[in-house]
């Protein structure tokens, strides 16, 4: 199986130096090989719903949100009550 390691890197937002491409390619190949070796009797053709193991839904009732200063404590930079991030334009 041909693996386009640069495309995977782009999708995962990873930067892989030119001289490491071959190394990552072979490692990724062995990971995929391992997955392909999983027993065939696992039925993965369906859509993976399991009506015998379902979840309970939640009532539409408001719970208190978290204090903003608490929520922003993880952020490296903040401004005006927001998380400050590198400029993005799309």
């Amino acid at each position: 199986m041909e693996i386009d390691i640069m495309r995977l890197a782009k999708l995962a937002k990873l930067s892989i130096p030119e001289d490491k491409v071959e190394e990552f390619r072979s490692k990724m190949e062995s990971i995929i090989q391992m997955v392909e070796n999983l027993p065939d009797d696992l039925d993965t053709t369906g859509s993976l719903v399991d009506p015998d193991d379902t979840m309970e839904l939640r009532k539409d009732e408001v719970q208190p949100s978290f204090p903003r200063n608490e929520m922003l404590r993880n952020a490296p930079y903040t401004a005006a009550g927001c998380i400050l991030i590198p400029k993005v334009v799309d």
Binding site: L11, K13, S47, L48, V49, D50, P51, D53, T54, M55, L57, R58, K59, D60, E61, V62, Q63, P64, S65, F66, R68, M71, L72, N74, Y77, A79, A80, G81, C82, I83, L84, I85, P86, K87, V88, V89, D90
Partner: protein
């Protein structure tokens, strides 16, 4: 538009649902709150948290599914849609991939006087992303996650739409349907309904689709109309010049009225959908699905058609009445009294009452006006107890006060004088005072009769029966 080509449009509409809380956590679902105050570890995607699905979201989405004649999948699940963008703190959006909650439906819309059926591929539920505020003075962007986790339905149409007008009718119908069902506040200006537009063109008669181009940033339904016509014209020009359409995503700029390339097919996103391991399968029983179906009210297009056939109203008037749930209910309540003609009711609502609603920027239900009082007022006009002008005076009062129109007529002395004796005296007086007009009439200028009737009305202080006065004026002059 070049008539050798046919436009083919498919639309993806996102609508925010008006639940109390977000889709996967108990944070408030509210527009316009102070930034980052309706957030918690779940909607901010902190590690170790688990989403729990809001049952109201499922119910609302099924309502829309029924309104759009879909099959409801009672056993379904969530999938992750993966992409990096800072408005999405988890780097994936919880959505639905291969088993949407609703699918294979259709929506009938009115285009001109024709009913057009537009296929609905699917409706699925997902979470909204946050908002980025771009600020050059800070050298970066500000992320506000209040909108993160607000429940959305995405409605995907079949490529059944053949013109910008059809697209507009489809979008308008979705908009009024959302409001009728009470599942979204559907405020375009607050971004609670948004759409992506797919456009292709093909030679008339061709059965194969052309290459489609997706347009983003279409922020209103009228913008969708402009964007479709622009893109179709652009594609036709390319083809006419021997070029080829390439599959790409373009960004609509409504101010400039043009679109620009956003990304080509090579840069197309690969979302790598997979089932969300944080959420299990969920089921909705057949009984529940049937119960929700039974709760769907008569929808705007059906109402429009019924007003036309049952009450003989015009297409335009029927649609205007049906457009707003409250106005439609009010109209029906007045008609149900059986006291007056539906056509008169429609005229009063769409005329004088609409003017007031526009001035006060309110709904008909915000007025003190009751269907019973309006019905009584109109019936007084139809019975010729009061004139149309007196009706307006009564309306002004009952708009603001729940008062019996009969009482108002009595108190204000608005009853029309239809007593021939009293009217005759007025006619004689007016004719005596307007010899010139009488002479003009005799010389063939019969349109002066309007002036003379006006004088009589003035003399009667608005209480004379104008139809009777007109006949009496003409008869009196002819006898002279």
């Amino acid at each position: 538009m070049n008539s050798n080509y046919e436009i083919v449009v498919g639309l993806e509409v996102h609508a925010e649902l008006s639940t109390e809380t977000k889709i996967f956590c108990g944070c408030k679902n509210e527009f316009g709150a102070e930034v980052n105050t309706n957030v918690c570890p779940v909607c901010m995607g902190l590690p170790g948290t688990l989403p729990v699905l809001n049952e109201q979201v499922v119910e609302y989405a099924i309502k829309m599914g029924h309104a759009m004649n879909c099959t409801i999948n009672g056993t379904t699940k969530h999938d992750r849609k993966n992409y990096f963008y800072p408005d999405l703190p988890k780097s994936y959006q919880i959505s639905q991939f291969d088993i949407p909650l609703c699918e294979n439906g259709y929506l009938d819309v009115l285009v001109g006087d024709e009913v057009k059926r537009i296929g609905v591929t699917r409706i699925h539920i997902e979470e909204d992303a946050g908002k980025l505020i771009h600020d050059d003075s800070l050298g970066g962007s500000l992320a506000d996650y209040n909108r993160c986790g607000v429940p959305l339905i995405e409605i995907v149409s079949e490529p059944d739409i053949r013109s910008a007008d059809e697209a507009k009718a489809y979008l308008d119908t979705i908009h009024t349907t959302l409001l009728y069902l009470g599942i979204s506040d559907a405020k375009m200006q607050e971004g609670s309904v948004r759409c992506d537009v797919n456009v292709s063109v093909r030679p008339v008669g061709s059965t194969e689709f052309g290459t489609r181009v997706e347009m983003k940033n279409v922020n209103s339904f009228s913008a969708a109309h402009r964007a479709i016509n622009y893109e179709a014209a652009r594609q036709i020009k390319v083809l006419e010049n021997g070029g080829e359409i390439v599959q790409e995503t373009r960004r609509w700029d409504d101010v400039k009225g043009v679109n620009v390339l956003l990304r080509s097919k090579e840069d197309a996103q690969d979302y790598r959908y997979f089932p969300d391991p944080d959420l299990l399968t969920f089921t909705v029983s057949d009984e529940k699905i049937a119960e929700i179906k039974a709760s769907i009210p008569e929808l705007p297009v059906a109402k429009t058609m019924r007003y036309m056939s049952e009450h003989g109203l015009s297409r335009a008037d029927s649609e205007l009445l049906a457009l707003n749930k409250n106005t439609a209910a009010f109209f029906e309540a007045v008609v149900a009294t059986g006291k007056c003609e539906p056509k008169s009711v429609s005229n009063w609502i769409l005329g004088d009452i609409y003017k007031v609603l526009n001035e006060r920027k309110c709904e008909i239900t915000d007025l003190a006006l009751t269907p019973a009082n309006l019905a009584e007022m109109i019936s007084l006009i139809e019975k010729k107890t009061i004139s149309n002008a007196a009706g307006k005076t009564v309306l002004e009062i009952i708009l603001n006060e729940d008062k019996d129109p009969n009482e108002i007529v009595k108190e204000k002395g608005l009853a029309q004088v239809s007593d021939t004796g009293a009217l005759n005296a007025i006619v004689e007086k007016v004719l005596a005072n307007n010899e010139k007009a009488v002479a003009d009439f005799k010389n063939g200028k019969t349109n002066v009769v309007g002036f003379l009737v006006g004088q009589c009305m003035k003399e009667s202080r608005g209480k004379g029966n104008p139809a009777m006065l007109k006949d009496m004026v003409v008869a009196a002059i002819e006898k002279m």
